[in-house]
Subunit: 349 residues, 2 copies
């Protein structure tokens, strides 16, 4: 009796689709993982085929984070759910001031999802991970029946290591501190909405999805202990990020509309779609709060990095028991930038 | 002008349901996270309200893992998706020989899901996490439209720390090694299937869902460097676990049916449902492969732990270029325990 060793025949990636058997723990799942995920992520931790990855010790305090990605559509101008799931989790690590080291990825896939789309997503994740220097070291795949999910959902988790002198937290903003953003607001959300609504613009609007840990490393080198808070303004945009920090630090903000970078085409699309760019998600931008005397140095360091070249100081932290975010508008007026109460943009990330 | 600070009014957990706004990044999401997740998980890392948790340094090599949980039904005899998502990820860390330290949790929730069920799941996660001594330090919540998911999916990730002398991997089984299981096979899968099929038995069949890191610590203390491989036989059961190890270590297995513990009620239910207990998922059992001369010591250590009291030595590793798992059956015959090719039990975990 002789039996061929399993996992021989390649998946028919061009025409095939995910079936329930690909989540069974049997041979079909091993083949899917091998031909699509291991091929795309390509590292020794995954090739060891264990249910966990054994990694080197990390010298310093750990930082851990996780995010689920349910963005719709899965592919959009400037990115896709795969690269987004790498960038977003890297950014959450970086916002703690830490250096991202390793990622995990959990896939929940709807029966019938095309292999070709899954491969495209996995390749995009692999490329984003290699470009950022943060490997995907372990993963999991589940399949649910048709109609019980929406294509694919991805949850990534990340660990990083924190330099000794850094201690950032959203409760550390103090009156007088400067508020900086690393670039234009609203690009990601508007790119997604434009694709959903099939809008065409003269200048295509691309998602800003990008990994921010390189920019953050430069910021820490320049301003180190003067940094108080960093946040990436994703869901709910700049407005949600500032309101959260205001609440957690028990302060207020005074910001100036004219100083907040918004691309003309994004502003135009927002007007058309009835959106306010301050509430629209970003996936490659950050808000930083630092001691006032370090602000110019920090701004210069940000502008010297490709992902911070349009950085701007947009205002400062004020004492305010109401924790308001107050914005001076273009015509000398003012308004409160309140929390978003309903849902402006579901499934934006 | 005076504004009440947000997040004042409690969620109506008894009658309320999750809406899209609970995934928006705004005030509704903050309230959901605060009233349900922070209340259930209750620790300082979460209360800091950052997008990442800052943790102490871990002295030693890291282990990282992730798993998605899509079990249906969400509540089953002996557990629910919440406790399962804690136990399963702890067990993947433990199977690497590591001590689990921290968990993350990503929730993907269907619009309309009852708050009461979400709270029950979160409470169950919190209890499982505290009982195991492994805190959930960071999380994320996404909401998708009705009909685009199935209640709730949870992805947990975990990190642990690996003692210096331990090096377990599924490619380390060697001919002559002993094969042990920590207890009865098939309980979890049969508990789920019984609930799905509305079966009643004289003796209720409960899921074996449990955290195995305590048992593993005792095993390492007793047999340390003699341990070669550990696996928790989840999807695909004992059959899938042994076939994977056989392939990855390029060996075969000779096991004896009479030595594999299966509860009488589980055997009866399997016969009724047309299942083979060797292919049915477990969530609180492990397979261990160790050097032959350490087997008795290891078995004694396992039996001294509450989660290993029915541990059994079921056979040994053999040289086999076909990587077969051969089983001596009750009547002196033999059969090959092959890979599962189709899907026996979708959404078992």
């Amino acid at each position: 009796m002789n039996r061929a060793k399993p996992i021989r025949r390649k998946l028919d990636i061009k025409n095939g689709r995910v079936e329930l058997s690909h989540g069974s723990g049997g041979r079909a799942m091993a083949q899917l993982i091998n031909d699509i995920f291991h091929a795309a992520f390509d590292n020794d931790w995954l090739r060891s085929n264990n249910d966990q990855a054994s990694l080197d010790a990390l010298p310093g305090r750990l930082v851990m984070t996780t995010d689920g990605y349910v963005v719709s559509p899965l592919f959009f101008p400037g990115g896709d759910i795969g690269s987004l799931s790498v960038h977003g989790t890297i950014n959450d690590i970086a916002m703690g001031g830490a250096t991202p080291k390793y990622l995990s990825a959990s896939f929940i896939i709807e029966e019938g999802f095309p292999f070709a789309d899954l491969e495209r997503i996995a390749q995009s994740m692999g490329e984003a991970s290699r470009a950022a220097g943060v490997p995907i070291v372990t993963g999991d795949t589940k399949v649910v029946e048709r109609g019980k999910a929406d294509g694919v959902f991805i949850s990534t988790a990340g660990v990083g290591v924190l330099p000794e002198e850094i201690s950032l937290s959203s409760d550390k903003a103090r009156p007088g501190d400067a508020v900086l953003v690393s670039g234009s607001m609203g690009d990601h959300g508007v790119a997604i909405m434009s694709r959903r609504e099939n809008l065409q613009f003269d200048v295509e609007i691309l998602s800003d999805s990008a990994p921010l840990h390189g920019l953050v490393a430069d910021m820490i080198a320049a301003a180190g202990g003067s940094l108080r808070v960093m946040r990436d303004p994703t869901r709910g945009g700049l407005a949600a990020a500032l309101n959260e920090i205001a609440l957690q630090s028990d302060v207020g903000f005074a910001i100036e509309e004219a100083l907040i970078p918004v691309k003309p085409q994004v502003a135009a699309a927002c007007e058309f779609l009835g959106l306010d760019p301050l509430y629209v998600a970003n996936e490659g931008k950050l808000v930083a709060i630092c001691e006032a005397q370090a602000a110019e140095t920090l701004l210069a360091a940000m502008r010297a990095h490709p992902l911070g070249k349009n950085a701007s100081m947009i205002g400062h932290v004020v004492e305010d028991e109401n924790n308001f975010v107050e914005m001076k508008t273009g015509f000398g007026g003012g308004r409160i930038v309140d929390w978003l109460s309903g849902e402006q943009l579901p499934r934006i990330c």
